[in-house]
């Protein structure tokens, strides 16, 4: 079985973003997506700082401190990019003008709930950033995360055990093992990595999965 690397997950997701989409990329694996958008496809990448039209990462020596992605890495602006205030940026996000928010997560539940800002430990600093706004406001929420925690416990659960970012917000999950869509009937597996059986995938998942009859190779 060949698990996907973080770069592979970003590459696969990038190829599935339709031309003309307006997309916000969160901290972690999602920000890697910017490097894999096909050159001939026009996609508007938004940064909550107040930028629309982000390009790939800046070449050494070309960095501008004021053009960064959600992870505060130096990126570029494409021709046609625009700059606006934080308020306008979140009006864009909360007003439903972002087609897809790609976010990292700790946990996703079978009912579409997502947890990605706090592990509930009281003396540790929680950090929400723009996640709650994106989860509540974007037209579609795609989660990119490893299928299991470091200790092997599942991240996809019947109900999240960590504090929620938003209820019922997730539309799609890309993990290192599979691509799963959220449909009214539940979690449907559209693709799995080569060499993995559905039974094995189910064993690594804390919620009931459905297999798409046309499930194909993931990677």
């Amino acid at each position: 079985m060949k698990k996907l690397s973080r770069q592979d997950m970003a590459r696969v997701a990038a190829l599935e973003i339709a031309e003309g989409s307006c997309v916000n990329l969160g901290i972690g694996v999602p920000t890697l997506i910017a490097d894999y958008v096909p050159a001939d496809r026009e996609i508007l990448l938004q940064s909550e700082q107040g930028l629309l039209g982000l390009g790939p990462k800046a070449e050494p020596g070309q960095e501008d401190e004021d053009i960064v992605n959600a992870g505060k890495h130096h990126v570029t602006l494409v021709n046609g990019a625009s700059v606006f205030s934080h308020s306008d940026s979140f009006a864009m996000i909360r007003g439903g003008h972002i087609d897809i928010a790609c976010l990292g997560a700790f946990q996703v539940a079978a009912n579409g709930d997502m947890a990605n800002w706090s592990t509930g430990v009281s003396d540790q600093l929680p950090a929400v950033g723009g996640a709650m706004d994106l989860a509540a406001g974007a037209a579609n929420v795609w989660v990119l995360m490893e299928h299991c925690q470091k200790d092997g416990s599942p991240r996809i659960l019947e109900r999240c055990s960590y504090p929620l970012t938003a209820a019922g917000c997730v539309d799609r999950i890309y993990t290192d093992l599979a691509m799963i869509d959220m449909i009214p009937e539940g979690l449907i597996v559209r693709r799995m990595v080569e060499g993995l059986t559905f039974a094995e995938l189910q064993k690594h998942t804390g919620a009931k999965l459905i297999i798409d009859p046309s499930c194909s190779i993931y990677g």
Binding site: S47, D66, H86, L125, G130, D133, A167
Partner: protein, 222 residues
């Protein structure tokens, strides 16, 4: 003659009192008025409540203010450092600093509401989460919304690329962020600008912050 220019950073921050609520512009360190914050450290202001998108990223002026125990409370969306634990983690774990965690868009809109004289607003952000606990909620078109209060400050510290003696400001790229919004949300707004230009140089069509929102302007070439 309207002239909001002051000669030095010390003049810019003159009169800021202990216990002030200070709005600080920026996204991480982009667009943050670091030199004005350094001047606040210099004059010894204590018991500060900071309202900002981020706290300290690790080694920076907010971290210096925290190490000097000048900050009582932080209202922000992302208090974690970029490269592991910071002084904030330590002070927070010891109960030496208070944190009000606010979702980023809610923070931006609360400040906008404060600047615009709006008494609050309902948003779907944080509905059904821990950050909505104890807050008024309302069903609007069948969806749950959370009521959020406006934020205003005693002082706003902002950074711009250029300004003129009337206080008109323009910014640079993402460094615009919350600076133009905070400019209207405090009793005293102090801008550090990279360059002070003559009145009339800035195209009225391009001015982002009209001078009415700005009280003091200091040139910091960086």
């Amino acid at each position: 003659m309207i002239d909001k220019r002051v000669k030095s950073l010390a003049d810019a921050v003159q009169g800021i009192k202990d216990g002030s609520t200070i709005l600080v512009g920026g996204f991480g360190t982009s667009g943050r008025p670091n030199q004005l914050l350094a001047a606040i450290l210099e004059i010894g202001t204590r018991e500060i409540t900071i309202v900002a998108n981020n706290a300290t990223i690790g080694t920076d002026i907010i971290g210096d203010l925290m190490r000097a125990r000048r900050i009582r409370k932080v209202v922000c969306s992302f208090p974690r450092g970029l490269y592991g634990k910071t002084i904030f983690d330590e002070l927070y774990a010891n109960g030496e600093v208070e944190l009000e965690l606010v979702p980023q868009g809610t923070l931006a809109e609360r400040i906008r509401a404060g600047a615009a004289g709006i008494g609050g607003f309902f948003t779907r952000t944080a509905a059904g989460t821990e950050l909505a606990k104890g807050k008024e909620t309302r069903l609007i078109n069948g969806k749950e919304y959370v009521f959020e209060h406006p934020i205003t400050g005693d002082v706003a510290l902002i950074k711009a690329r250029q300004g003129d003696r009337w206080g008109n400001l323009v910014y640079h790229r993402g460094a615009r962020v919350n600076n133009p919004v905070m400019a209207g949300a405090a009793k005293l707004t102090i801008a550090q600008v990279g360059e002070i230009v003559d009145l009339g140089v800035l195209d009225p069509e391009h001015i982002v912050t009209p001078g009415v929102y700005v009280d003091r302007l200091v040139e910091v070439k960086i």
